[in-house]
Amino acid sequence: MSATKTQNENIVEVKNLKKYFPLTQGIFQKVVGHIKAVDDVSFVIPRGKTVGLVGESGCGKTTISKCILRAIDPTSGEINLNTEQGSKNIADMREKELRPLRKEMQLIFQDPFSSLNPRMNLFDIVSEPLLLNGVKSRVERQDRVEELLSKVGLRPEYMVRFPHAFSGGQRQRIGIARALALNPSLIVCDEPVSGLDVSVQAQVINLLMDLQDELGLSYLFVSHDLSIVRQISDSIQVMYLGRLVENGTPEEIFSSPKHPYTEALISAVPQADPDMPKNHQTLIGEIPNPSNPPNGCYFHPRCAYATDECKKTNPALTVDKSGRSFSCHNAKDIKLTGLI
């Protein structure tokens, strides 16, 4: 990512996005605190590129993707969506204005078994977005569904079948066809392959990359599988407890991580090579309760390099000379190891 970019190079620009969920208590539902699911997050998704979002469960990955799709309303911040009609902040846009923009953004779900209605056949599933967006003619819809199915590698004859007749990988293809129906510019992939077998994972990943090359799609790829994120992403955002702690290209993140959390995540990934040294830097404990995060740096109770300063102040996301940003007090003093 270059430092000089014009407005329209990015499909989405997220600025200071916050999403707090209120915690209530008592019969009057008095607000006693907040879960800061997403806390002051800024990043961009360049047009035609893939941004990987990684982190443990409960760190707010899915909340960010839901905010970008406006499936939930952000507490504050800006989400600028750049379309042919210019740049629009959709963070607090009214539903009526948002409606025509929704077709620009689509979602691929994690679980292909629960995200397809078992009572609808393939034609109904894939053509539903078309119907909702005013394509009334059945012939027209049928042609489009045929085109979409062949694009994702399914036979058009399957149109009359129901989801139960398909395997996990095929169902994920159906989900992809449905997401493509309205020619979106952005697709949010929320753990699209984590429920699939390894051999099928490769098929779906290859399909996603082929479709990106063919249609110029932009992806926000949410996953906890670092090896897949590394393969598909142009840039990676590492998230911990609602905050971005580091970003960079896959190359940078994996060869020289700057945040201890990234280092721990990388070393936790099992490699299918019996000769690889197995030196887990196992993280102690689990992700803290987001309603009561630790003082100072959120990561310090689990960090092997924590100093006194880490317990007091929260490090800001700083940008270094090469343009990478990370939030760690000790980034200069510690030497972290990635892969290779």
């Binding site: 994972q201 599988d225 090896s227 099992p270 299918a272 019996p274 993280l283």
Partner: protein
């Protein structure tokens, strides 16, 4: 045969020609079709394969946990003891008889993929661990409680005395899996069967659980049968590995033999379809075409032949290949190596 080949190593569990079929109204499903496995003392055997290849049914057959309409129709499951007298063929024991119940949870324990659904939601964690302890020892209630607490400490659980009073839903995924491991190991089993123990967990929690299993193996000296589709997990934990496809073991050997020098086209395809350190950015990985065939429409001959890149016409679709020995301990069922 396997036995001749591994004479110097004495196995603790020996599975020979295991066949478990499911008799459904649509026909017979050969879920496990002649499986041979050897588990060695203090070693980990990994079983890998795609979903539907019969990995889980194999281990359930070992413990005789197959329900109607399934039936284990053939084979031997020899659990060896210190003397010849202690050895038993589990398949010959009376279903749900005392002897078999002593072995289940006693000499062979099992941990499951989703600890949420395998713990009882209406009993506390403590209750369930104590039940296992008291079924397999003569300890009284309070002694068993202490013993359970001791085990929770050993598996690295924080606040063990409080955890014993909690229910499964009050624990996080990693803690539940720790409690499950404590419950499985508190009877000091010879063999631990782990059926996808980390699939539902985060990478960081997965690393913790794998480290815990390794540590427990070193301390207690048990053998582990590890079932997973994650080849990375196998490479990390296993000493030996068996690759299964459609109810049959197609390749087996030590982890280094199979992962460094895969011989069966299926193993080769599996290994090449996962991203590795050498995978370039946006590089397309070679994919295994097609999917696992329908259980009622299995191909004749070698079950892998419709998806195989080295398909030999007139041979592969005709007969199932014999077991060929590549080198000591490395066995493969493929016509390519037929001499």
């Amino acid at each position: 045969m396997t036995t001749k080949n591994k004479l110097e190593k004495k196995s603790i569990l020996e599975v020979r020609g295991l066949k478990t079929y499911f008799y459904t109204t649509d026909g017979t499903v050969k879920a496990v079709d002649g499986v041979d496995l050897d588990v060695f003392p203090k070693k980990t055997l990994g079983i890998v394969g795609e979903s539907g290849c019969g990995k889980s049914i194999t281990t359930k057959s070992i413990l005789r946990l197959i329900d109607y309409p399934g039936r284990t129709i053939e084979g031997e499951v020899n659990l060896k003891g210190d003397t010849l007298k202690d050895s038993v063929d589990l398949l010959k024991l009376k279903q749900n008889g005392t002897e078999l119940r002593q072995i289940r949870g006693g000499r062979i324990s099992m941990i499951f993929q989703e600890p949420m659904t395998s713990f009882s939601p209406i009993h506390t964690i403590g209750n369930q661990i104590i039940e296992a302890i008291r079924l397999h020892s003569k300890l009284g209630k309070s002694e068993a409680l202490e013993f359970a607490e001791d085990w929770l400490i050993r598996v690295g659980m924080s606040n063990p005395s409080q955890r014993l009073k909690q229910y499964a839903f009050e624990l996080s995924g990693g803690q539940r899996q720790r409690a499950m491991i404590a419950m499985a190991l508190c009877t000091n089993p010879d063999i631990l069967i782990a059926d996808e123990p980390t699939t539902a967990l985060d990478v960081t929690t997965q690393a913790q659980v794998l480290d815990l299993l390794k540590e427990m193996q070193e301390k207690n000296g048990m053998s582990i049968i590890m079932i997973t589709h994650d080849l990375g997990v196998i490479a990390e934990l296993a000493d030996d590995v068996s690759v299964m496809y459609l109810g049959k073991v197609v390749e087996s050997g030590t982890i280094r033999q199979v992962f460094k020098n895969p011989k069966h086209p299926y193993t080769q395809a599996l290994l090449s379809s996962i991203p590795s350190l050498a995978t370039g950015h946006r590089e397309r990985l070679p994919i295994l075409t097609g999917t696992i065939p329908h259980p009622q429409a299995r191909p004749a001959g070698c079950p892998f032949n419709p998806r195989c890149k080295d398909f030999i016409e007139g041979t592969c679709e005709v007969s199932f290949p014999n077991q060929e020995i590549i080198e000591e301990g490395h066995l493969v069922n493929c016509h390519l190596y037929n001499k």
